[in-house]
């Protein structure tokens, strides 16, 4: 029955004569009757009653245990005790003896602890089996007649030991084995025709259980360590029993002679007809036809690991980790197990990898070794084309074997399925780097295996470990659905949106997705993808943006109460999204209007944009009610106070779109009247120009001047007609000197006729005339005054002064002696004088006046050192002009400085810092009229322009300082005049001089708009403009 045989391997070597024949030399006259081993020694009993104790090195200790023969012996495994049963007489007289093999008496015989008779009843019966429990408390002996003696109690002591007899069967007991299972103890009993089990846990409550109704021969039963099986050997099979009854059965043919358990193996000695074929190494025996078959069975792996026919076996024992066989000729054989490596090599040779693995595992082979076997197995299967099975093996190598080893083998497109399996396993074990994830996903897509892909993707949380981003990236091309799913599942919002937008062009979905995100994310993604969304889905996107910028809440979380937390409403900054509407003004307008209607506070750029787009829409509209509506809207927006738009920009935009309503509004609002004027001028609308001048002229007189320029600059200017009116105003308001007007008209390109200006010139000439007359009168008066003063001086010098004063100038009482009289006609009581006077030589009444005069004179002397001080003061002064004026008042600038036109140019280029004064220079230059026209609107206008240019000059300071300057200047001119007229016209009050200067227009600072003329030429001091130099260090006027 070859096909029913066990698989066979040769995992053992049988070595003969391992003892150098020492055992054989012991048995010249008698035979071995029993062999037992344990506690590091083997024990042989013989038919003459001798016991041989054998050490590992085959040293033998022999002693006589019985007079007649040794029948049974049991050396305990882990105790020096040796239990023997034998006869001291011829006949049946079995005695139990217990020896301590470590204690010897003086004759060299081990100490015998106990001697008891082994009789199951009244008559002695031959013993068949002996069994001793390793715990030394139980002992059982079986007899020929089927009875069984069970001894309880310390086996070393006769006394106290209790013996109980069981009648097991009517035939001889052939095998006994104790089995302890927790607290329970069982005794297996085999007879020649049956198997029983006794539960002997409790004394006197022993319980007999029949396990089988067939038995075995003597020596043919064994208790296997493997799963606690009690085995009996029968001709057709080995039957096994557990405490629960029948167990497995191993069909092994042959009449069994002996069973023995060794390590994990069952050693079976059976009779055989086969001749001794195998030449045993070192065997000295003659081959005989009658031998025994040794079979070593690996019960666990279910195959025969050794099988050989040899000389008839007398006995076997296992000790020192090896198995020994003694044949009928007392030759000792060693059954030597091969090492694992050789075994595996054997198996590999036969390509029995699965077996190799099983064996390696059962022998606790280390995991590296195992992995190597798996790999070899896999390679083998692969070579045979068993890819699926190969992969199965390779999977077991995961964690030890470099995955690329496997992957490379299966990269071929036909093998993708297997590769997939492997990669899946890799992921399951968390051993997959990104590349492998990519590979796996690619495999899925290549295989079109969306189900697996889905499964793979969705099980991520449970046991698969992979990089989601990579997975999305890979899926994105092969199976976008999955990529989406993945992105959604793992909240990879960016990917989700990206795929929806870029791959699927499903903008609405993307929007919906975004709208479900929390504020932060929604905001970010809207910023990121807003552009395309607005472009593709303007309506939806706008709606969403509206929500985002007003009162954002994720769509799913609309029910804030349900969450228990009333989330803070968040809204995004509209400014961030405006650029999205770049090409879609209508949407932007809609968006922003909504926001405004929601009462959002928007930043000025947002308003700017809104205005811009309003205008965009506006300009695109045909004239009609719609346009008018927009006009109103825009104006309303411009006029709303809270709307903080950037006005200059709004202006620019209005200009761009020609939205005049807005322009006007803005100009007016910002007091940019000249601009308005210019606008009208450019439109050639004379009445509007006039209206504008009239309306704003009182705030911005220069408008008129501008109007004048506009009139004359262009040839064929339609504004020519209004020239007279302009001139009238200019004259009336003294906005320009006649000379300037004439000059302006002179260079004009337009056809101004004399008719236009006749009345003006006449008027002006008349006025000039009046002034001259006035002045002449004044000169006369002054000359008379001077004359008078001269006379006075003369009188004081040479004449007699009659002191007529009768009252004291101090106390106004009648003068009494002693009194003091001064030439100035002041008289004092002596005591009054003393209490008032600071100086004996001076009149205390005149002293303050005189002092002033003297100081003034002194200060005039001072000139030389002034220049340094002046500069340093000027540097520090916040109001340089008044400082300069003060110095001027002190007649500091008495030197004449000639200023050429070239220098003026230079000054021009350097003078930027001093905007307010530039105009002189500019105007003086004369040939730069265009430019001057620009700056003509006065410092504040220019300041505004500069402001809009964002250059941080401080034009405002200048404009205010100018005011101050004027004020102070008045004062100076007053004091100057006062000083000068002191002696002559004491009565001429400051009021008068002020009115003078106003009427006559002598105040040089009123002449801001005067061109070409040095405003000071008219003055008594007759100087060239001292101010032009003040700010030019190169032209330092103070240098001699």
């Amino acid at each position: 029955m070859a096909f029913l045989e066990w698989r066979k391997f040769n995992f053992f070597d049988l070595k003969a004569n391992v003892d150098d024949g020492r055992i054989a030399s012991l048995y010249k006259e008698c035979d071995i009757t029993v062999a037992t081993s344990g506690n590091n020694q083997a024990v042989l009993g013989d038919s003459c009653g001798q016991i041989h104790i054998i050490t590992r090195f085959w040293q033998v200790t022999t002693f006589r245990a019985y007079e007649f023969k040794v029948s049974l012996a049991k050396q305990l495994r882990s105790s020096p005790l040796l239990v023997t049963v034998g006869d001291d007489d011829v006949g049946i007289n079995p005695l139990i003896k217990v020896w301590n093999t470590t204690r010897f008496d003086k004759n060299g015989i081990p100490y015998c602890c106990r001697v008891s008779r082994a009789i199951p009843g009244v008559n002695p019966v031959a013993v068949t089996t002996l069994c001793v429990h390793e715990e030394l408390q139980l002992m059982a002996i079986g007899f020929m007649d089927g009875s069984l003696n069970l001894y309880r109690g310390e086996i070393t002591r006769d006394r106290g030991s209790k013996q109980k007899v069981f009648r097991v069967a009517s035939c001889a007991i052939t095998g006994l084995a104790f089995q302890a299972l927790g607290p329970a103890v069982f005794l297996f009993v085999a007879t020649e025709s049956s198997v029983y089990m006794y539960n002997i846990t409790h004394k006197d409550k022993e319980h007999k259980i029949s396990l089988d109704n067939m038995g075995c021969a003597k020596n043919c039963s064994v208790l296997a360590v493997y799963e606690n099986l009690f085995m009996i050997g029968r001709n057709n099979a080995i039957y096994c029993y557990t405490i629960d009854g029948k167990g497995p059965c191993y069909a092994v043919d042959g009449e069994k002679v002996l069973l023995e358990w060794f390590r994990n193996y069952l050693v079976i000695v059976s009779t055989t007809n086969r001749p001794i074929t195998q030449a045993v190494a070192g065997s000295s025996s003659q081959p005989t036809s009658q031998g025994h078959l040794i079979t070593v069975l690996d019960i666990h792996n279910k195959f025969i690991v050794f099988s050989s026919v040899m000389e008839k076996v007398r006995t076997v024992f296992s000790e020192w980790g090896s198995f020994y066989i003694i044949d009928y000729n007392n030759n000792v054989y060693h059954l030597d197990e091969k090492d694992l490596q050789s075994k595996l090599a054997l198996l590999f040779k036969k390509n029995l990898y699965d077996l190799a693995i099983r064996i390696a595992k059962s022998q606790q082979y280390d995991s590296y070794g195992l992995v190597d076997i798996y790999r070899q197995y896999g390679d083998h299967l692969y070579a045979k084309g068993g890819y699926e099975a190969a992969i199965e093996q390779y999977i077991k190598t995961i964690g030890r074997l470099e995955p690329s080893y496997v992957i490379r083998k299966f990269l071929d497109s036909q093998h993708i399925e297997y590769l997939t399996t492997y990669l899946q396993a890799l992921h399951k074990q968390g051993q997959a780097p990104e590349d492998h994830t990519t590979l796996l996903l690619n495999c899925y897509t290549k295989l079109n295996n969306t189900d697996s892909l889905k499964e793979f993707i969705l099980t991520k949380d449970n046991d698969l470990d992979f990089d989601v981003e990579i997975a999305i990236k890979v899926c994105r091309y092969g199976s976008p659905e999955e990529a989406l799913m993945l992105a959604k599942k793992h909240a990879k919002h960016d990917w989700y949106i990206k795929i929806q937008i870029e791959d699927h062009e499903k903008y609405i979905e993307a929007l919906q997705y975004i709208s479900r995100l929390d504020f932060q994310n929604a905001e970010n993604f809207m910023k990121k993808y807003g552009n395309i969304l607005i472009e593709k889905e303007p309506h939806e996107s706008t709606q969403f943006l509206k929500r985002l910028c007003t009162n954002y809440r994720p769509v799913d979380k609309t029910d804030g109460i349900l969450n228990g937390i009333t989330e803070l409403n968040q809204n995004a900054d509209a400014e961030d999204y405006i650029h999205l509407f770049l090409n879609n003004s209508e949407r932007l307008v809609e968006f922003l209007e909504y926001l405004i209607s929601e009462g959002c506070v928007l930043s000025s750029p947002v308003y700017d944009t809104l205005i811009e787009h309003y205008l965009h829409v506006w300009s695109a509209l045909e004239a009609g009610p719609e346009k008018a509506k927009y006009t109103q809207k825009i104006l309303k927006l411009l006029q709303t106070l809270e709307v903080k738009y950037d006005k200059p920009q709004a202006l620019v935009v209005c200009h761009m779109h020609g939205f005049s309503e807005g322009i006007f509004y803005l100009y007016e609002e910002q007091k940019l009247y000249p601009q308005i004027l210019r606008y009208h001028v450019s439109k050639g609308d004379e009445s509007a120009v006039l209206a504008c001048c009239r309306r704003f002229g009182h705030q911005e007189p220069s408008l008129w001047v501008q109007a004048l320029w506009s009139c004359v600059r262009e040839s064929n200017s339609p504004l020519i007609d209004i020239l007279p009116e302009i001139l009238t105003v200019i004259a009336k308001e003294r906005l320009l000197s006649p000379q300037q007007v004439i000059e302006a008209i002179g260079i004009a390109k337009s056809d101004v006729t004399l008719g236009h200006i006749r009345s003006y010139i006449t008027n002006e000439l008349q006025k000039e005339h009046d002034i001259i007359e006035n002045n002449t009168e004044l000169i006369d008066k002054y000359q008379t005054d001077i004359e008078k003063l001269k006379q006075q001086v003369e009188t004081l010098k040479n004449g007699v002064v009659v002191i007529q004063g009768s009252r004291c100038a101090a106390c106004h009482h009648q003068l009494e002696l002693p009194s003091l009289h001064f030439l100035c006609q002041h008289s004092f009581h002596h005591h009054c004088f003393q209490s008032f006077a600071e100086n004996e030589n001076e009149c205390p009444a005149c002293l303050p006046e005189n002092k002033k005069l003297i100081e003034l004179l002194k200060s005039r002397e001072y000139n030389k050192d002034l220049h340094e001080t002046f500069h340093s003061q000027l540097e520090k002064a916040s109001d340089g002009f008044s400082l300069a004026a003060e110095y001027f008042g002190r007649s500091v600038f008495n030197k004449i400085t000639v200023i050429t036109d070239d220098e003026t140019e230079k000054i021009l280029s350097r003078a930027k810092k001093y905007d307010g004064y530039n105009q002189y220079n500019v105007l003086k230059a004369g040939n730069r009229i265009e430019e001057s026209a620009k700056s003509n609107y006065g410092p504040s206008a220019e300041a505004r322009i500069r402001l809009s240019e964002n250059i941080r000059n401080t034009p405002k300071i200048i404009s205010t300082s100018e005011g101050k300057m004027r004020l102070q200047e008045h004062q100076y001119s007053q004091s100057l005049e006062a000083n000068i007229t002191k002696y002559g016209t004491r009565g001429s009050s400051s009021k008068k001089s002020e009115s003078d200067s106003q009427v006559i227009g002598k105040n040089p600072f009123e002449d801001d708009y005067d061109d070409s003329k040095n405003p000071f030429t008219d003055d008594e001091f007759d100087e060239t403009n001292p101010f032009s130099d003040q700010y030019d260090k190169n032209l330092n006027p103070f240098e001699p």
Binding site: M1, F3, L4, E5, W6, R7, H133, E135, Q137, L138, Y151, R152, G153, E154, G160, S161, K162, A180, L181, G182, P183, A184, V185, N199, I200, T201, H202, K203, D204, K205, H207, I209, S210, D212, M214, N236, A237, I238, C240, D244, G245, K246, G247, P248, C249, Y250, A251, K302, F303, D354
Partner: protein, 213 residues
């Protein structure tokens, strides 16, 4: 492991029908495509729960060959349940059922529960025996029928557990003599009336016995 009952099963049927695979699937929950031939009787055990009771199933998986009949026959007695297996892809295994059934009936106790199993249901494409035929055979002989696959594990649990349920019912009905172990039923150690619960470990118990008398 403690149990309320121990049921002994035997699996019979022609060789190669998948008996060993069924057992392996039931005990180890795995399938081994290249299974060694069963030489003799293999053995497996598993705990199941029926009606809240722990029941230990001890299963003998027999070799199907005629040569081992004498060995396997000795296992019928002592089995409370039998799985009679044929292979749905090989008609002759179905044809041999009668022989198997006769053998079983002859050597087992009369109350043995026999479950007819058509195995390899996963190989639908190679089916030779219709399910109806299996059902008809079962009906005719008073067996429970089921188609299983040891490979996919389909119905494997059910086959073993349903058999156990039927045995359990029979016990409840008093059909089985639970004290006769030859019936293939054993009451668990704690539940056994013949096994009084006493304190003390086995070894000590025996030593006490020795010293007190």
């Amino acid at each position: 492991m403690s149990y309320a009952y121990l049921f002994k099963y035997i699996i019979i049927g022609d060789t190669g029908v998948g008996k060993s695979c069924l057992l392996l699937q039931f005990t180890d929950k795995r399938f081994q495509p290249v299974h060694d031939l069963t030489i003799g009787v293999e053995f497996g055990a598993r705990m199941i729960t029926i009606d809240g009771k722990q029941i230990k199933l001890q299963i003998w998986d027999t070799a199907g060959q005629e040569a081992f009949r004498s060995i396997t026959r000795s296992y019928y007695r002592g089995a409370a349940g039998a799985l009679l297996v044929y292979d749905i892809t090989r008609r002759e295994t179905f044809n041999h059922l009668t022989t198997w059934l006769e053998d079983a009936r002859q050597h087992s106790n009369s109350n043995m529960v026999i479950m007819l199993i058509g195995n390899k249901s996963d190989l639908e494409s190679r089916r030779e025996v219709k399910k109806e035929e299996g059902e008809a055979f079962a009906r005719e002989h008073g067996l429970v029928f089921m188609e299983t696959s040891a490979k996919t594990a389909a119905n494997v649990e059910e086959a073993f557990i349903n058999t156990a349920k039927e045995i359990y019912e029979k016990i409840q009905e008093g059909v089985f003599d639970i004290n006769n172990e030859a019936n293939g039923i054993k009451i668990g150690p704690q539940h056994s009336p013949t096994n009084p619960s006493l304190p003390g470990a086995g070894g000590q118990g025996s030593s006490q016995g020795g010293s007190c008398c």
